[in-house]
C-alpha cells in the first residue's frame, strides 16, 4: 500500500488485502514542515486539514507537524495557534484524544528564510523527531510562502541537507500556485526546484483538483456509458467554463495588482477544468497516464486568431452588489488608480483534435460578478429536426449538461419537456443532482485529500510541470496582447462582466449562460 512496503522487496503486509476495502489508506510514519505557518492559508486550510485527517484516523500515530516562521514563539504558543485554527475552521468535531495524539508531534522553529542558524535548528528538529516520534526520515516541506521566497527556502533546504534523506526514506516539497507568472518564470521555478528535489518529489497544489466534484468529472465521463458517445463535436455545440467570484480583491491588492484574473485563475483552474473536460480517456488513473492525457489536451489548445475579438477583459467598477454598495477595483486600497490589471478575463479557445474540431471552449473568470459559482456547461446542438410547429418549440433552448463545481455541487441536465396542458408546447426544464449540503460538509475538504496524497506519495491530482508550462504558453500571448495597449473595460460590480465578453459570444451567435 505505502511506499515503505514497496521499498522492501518481497515484504507484503499480511494484514493488508486489496479485497478489504474498509481499511483506509493511512500515510506511513512522516512529518510535515510548513513554511509560512502564520499565513492565512496555513491557519484556515492546512492546520484544520491536518486535524481532520487525524480525526478520520488517516494520519500515522508518529505524525509530526513542524511550523517555521518569523515569530518569537515557544512550542506551546505554536500549539495554541494550531488549536485556535482547528477550533475555528476544522470540519470535524474537536476531540481531546485526537488533539493529544497530534499535539505531541508539534514543533516550532523560529527564523528568517536567510537565517542559517534557523535551518540548522530545523534540521536538528527533524532529526530529533525521527528519534522521539519515529518519523523515520520521511518529511514533506510545504512552502506556504509568497513565490519570491521559494528560491531562498529551496536553496536553504539543500544547503542544510534537508532535501535528501537516508536510503528508504523520502523528502517531498509542496508548492502552491501561482507557479510563476509567465512561461519564463515558471520554467525558472521548475528548474530551481528540480535541481534540489527529484521530479517525483515535487507536488504542485492546485486545490481545485482536490475537490470531490472535480474528481467527479472523471467519474461522470469515464464510469458511465451514456455520456461518452455524445462527448464530441457531433453533439456538442460549445462548452462554457465559468469561475465567478462575488468578492473583490479584498486584502490581496499587493499580490493581485499586476497579476490579474488571467494569471490568477484562468492559467490554472480554468485550463485544468478544460483539460479534464476535453481529454481522451486515460488508460488508467495512475498519475502518469492521467497527466499524459491532460498534456495532450492542453497542447492541442488553439488561441483565437484575432486576440482583440477572441478575448475580453474588464475591471469592476463601484456598484450595488447583493444589497450592499462596493467600491470599484481602481478605488481599492493599494491599487493604482490607473492600474490596467484585469479582474475579469474571458477567452474563446479551440481544441484541435478530431473530437473537438470546431467546438469553441469559452472560458471566463472574474471578481465581483453576479454570484459565486464555478461550473462547466457542455451545451449540445439543437435537434436536427423538430417535428413540432414553430410556436410549440419557441421556448426550447439547447440541451445542456452542467457540472457544478461550487458552491452547489452537483450535476444539472437541461432538456425540453412538454408544458402541461392541452396544447403541445415544449419548454426547457432542468433536472438537478445535488450532493446534499450536509453531505459535502462531512466529505473531505480539498486540502485534506491533497495533503494525504502528498504524504502517501500519490500524485494523480497534482499538475505536472509540463502542464504548468503548457498553460503558460496559452496564457502568455493573451496577457502579452493586453499589455501591448488599451485598458480593461469597466463593468458594474454585481453584473456578469463587460459588454465585450457578451459581444465575443454574440459574434458566434451564442450567449453566456446565466449560471
Amino acid at each position: 500500500m505505502t511506499e515503505m512496503a514497496d521499498l522492501v522487496i518481497g515484504y507484503q503486509n499480511p494484514l493488508r488485502d486489496p479485497a478489504d476495502r474498509r481499511l483506509p489508506r493511512i500515510a506511513g510514519p512522516c512529518g510535515l514542515v510548513i513554511f509560512g505557518v502564520t499565513g492565512d492559508l496555513a491557519r484556515r486550510k492546512l492546520m484544520p486539514a491536518v486535524y481532520d485527517l487525524a480525526n478520520r484516523g488517516l494520519l500515522p500515530p508518529s505524525f509530526a507537524l513542524v511550523g517555521f516562521a518569523r515569530r518569537d514563539w515557544a512550542e506551546q504558543d505554536f500549539a495554541q495557534v494550531v488549536h485556535d485554527a482547528v477550533k475555528e475552521h476544522a470540519r470535524t468535531p474537536f476531540r481531546d484524544e485526537v488533539w493529544k495524539q497530534l499535539s505531541e508531534g508539534f514543533r516550532f522553529v523560529p527564523g528568517e528564510f536567510d537565517d542559517d542558524a534557523a535551518f540548522d535548528r530545523l534540521r536538528q528538529t527533524v532529526e530529533e523527531l525521527d528519534q522521539s516520534r519515529g518519523t523515520v526520515g520521511n518529511h514533506a516541506f510545504y512552502l506556504s510562502v509568497p513565490p519570491k521566497f521559494f528560491p531562498h527556502v529551496v536553496a536553504q533546504l539543500k544547503q542544510h541537507g534537508l532535501a535528501t534523506s537516508k536510503p528508504g526514506a523520502w523528502r517531498r516539497v509542496v508548492v502552491e500556485k501561482p507557479f510563476g507568472h509567465d512561461l519564463a518564470s515558471a520554467r525558472e521555478l521548475n528548474r530551481m526546484v528540480d535541481a534540489v528535489f527529484p521530479p517525483g518529489s515535487v507536488f504542485r497544489i492546485d486545490h481545485y483538483l482536490g475537490k470531490e466534484t472535480v474528481q467527479n468529472i472523471l467519474a461522470l465521463r469515464f464510469a458511465n456509458e451514456m455520456y461518452e458517445p455524445i462527448w464530441n463535436r457531433g453533439y456538442v455545440d460549445h462548452v462554457q467554463i465559468t469561475m465567478a467570484e462575488d468578492i473583490g480583491i479584498g486584502g490581496r491588492a499587493g499580490y493581485y495588482d499586476g497579476i490579474g484574473a488571467a494569471r490568477d485563475v484562468l492559467q490554472n483552474h480554468l485550463l485544468q477544468l478544460l483539460a479534464l473536460t476535453a481529454m481522451e480517456e486515460p488508460v488508467s488513473f495512475h498519475a502518469h497516464d492521467l497527466r499524459l492525457e491532460k498534456i495532450k489536451a492542453l497542447s492541442a489548445v488553439r488561441l483565437p486568431a484575432d486576440l482583440a475579438t477572441g478575448t475580453a477583459r474588464g475591471q469592476y467598477e463601484a456598484g450595488w452588489q447583493g444589497g450592499e454598495f462596493v467600491h470599484g477595483f481602481l478605488e481599492e486600497d493599494g491599487i493604482s488608480p490607473i492600474s490596467t490589471t484585469e479582474t475579469y478575463a474571458a477567452v474563446r479557445l479551440e481544441v484541435d483534435t478530431r473530437r473537438w474540431a470546431g467546438v469553441p471552449f469559452y472560458l471566463r473568470t472574474g471578481k465581483r460578478l453576479g454570484r459565486r459559482v464555478t461550473e462547466i456547461a457542455v451545451v449540445f446542438h439543437r435537434a436536427p429536426h423538430l417535428p413540432f410547429t414553430a410556436t410549440a418549440t419557441e421556448e426550447l433552448g439547447q440541451n445542456a449538461l452542467v457540472m457544478r463545481i461550487q458552491p452547489d455541487e452537483g450535476v444539472t441536465v437541461r432538456f425540453g419537456s412538454k408544458v402541461p396542458g392541452t396544447a403541445m408546447e415544449v419548454r426547457d426544464v432542468t433536472m438537478d443532482f445535488t450532493y446534499g449540503k450536509s453531505f459535502t460538509e462531512s466529505s473531505p475538504e480539498a486540502y485534506e485529500r491533497l495533503l494525504l496524497d502528498v504524504l502517501l506519495g500519490d500524485p494523480p491530482l497534482f499538475p505536472g510541470h509540463e502542464e504548468v508550462e503548457l498553460s503558460w504558453q496559452i496564457v502568455d500571448p493573451i496577457t502579452g496582447f493586453w499589455a501591448s495597449g488599451g485598458k480593461p473595460e469597466q463593468y458594474p460590480a454585481g453584473t456578469w462582466g463587460p459588454d465585450s465578453a457578451d459581444e465575443m459570444l454574440a459574434r458566434d451567435d451564442r450567449g453566456w449562460r446565466r449560471p
Partner: protein, 303 residues
Amino acid sequence: MTLDLTSTTSSRVAWAFLEARRVAGSPAMGMVLTLVIVADEDDCEYALSAATHAAREHPPRVLALISAPGSAEARLDASVSVGGTAGPGETAVLRLHGELARHPESVVAPLLLPDAPVVVWWPGAAPATPATDPVGVLGHRRITDAALEPDPIGALRERAMRFSPGDTDLAWTRLTPWRSMLAAALDSPPPADIVAASVGAEAGNPSAELLVHWLANRLKVPVNRTDTAGPGLTEARLTLANRTGDIALTRPDGVLAMLSVPGRPDRSVALKRRDTWELIAEELRRLDPDDTYANTLATLDSS
C-alpha cells in the same frame, strides 16, 4: 413536513412521499438507497436518529418498520417526513398492527426506491438467518448487531453458520479503526517475524472474537484471547520471534490508545469508540459483499 396517515396502505404512503416532495418544491430525488429499519418501539427512536445522522453522507429513503402484533385489527399507520428533521433524505415510520405484523414485506416492497440498493438494519434482536427473513431477503446488505444479543458470541457463531454474502454486523464495523491501525503498524516490515498474537477485551465482546479470527486468518499464527475489565476491546498484541518484543496497541480507557513497536518510541493513537451513526455511515459507504468479513466468519465457524 410530516404527514400522518392512519389505517392506510403502501400506495398511500408512496403518494404521501410524492406529495411532501411536491409541496417542498423539489421534485427531483438525489437519494442513493433505501434503508429499512426493523425495530420495536423502544429501539426505533435511537435508530432513526442514527439513520438521520448517517443520511448526511448517503441520502436515503428510510422505512422504519415497527411491529405491534398485539392489537386485534390488521392495520397500517404511517408517519411520513420529508426535509427538516428527516435530513437530506425522507422517512416513513410504519406501524404494523395485528395480523399485518406477520407480513411486513408486503408493506415494504412497494415503497423501495426504484433500482437503488436496499439495506436492512435490525437495531435490536435480529432473525436467526437474516438472508432468508421476509424483509431481509429484499436487502442487498443486512446489518445486524451481535453486541445487542443476549449471548453475543453465540449469536456471532450462529451468523457464521448461516452466513450469506451481504450479511454484516456492527461488531465487525466497530473493529475498522483497530484493524487499520494494526495494518498501518505492519506497513513497514516488523523487526522480526510475528509468531503469535493475543487480543484482550471485556468478556463476551463479539468484536474481540472477530479480531482474533481476522488476525489468525491473515497472520496464520495462533491467536489467543484474554478477558479484561474493558471497556470493550483493550489490547491487541503481536508477539515477535526471538524475544524481540511485542507490537502492541493498548486502549485501557476506550478513548486514547498507545501503539508500541520495538525500537520505536511509543505513540498515542486516538481510538475512540464510535457512535452508532458513524458505524451505519461506514456500512452504507460500500454496499457490495464484504469478503474479508466472510473469510473472518469462516475462520470463526471452523474454529
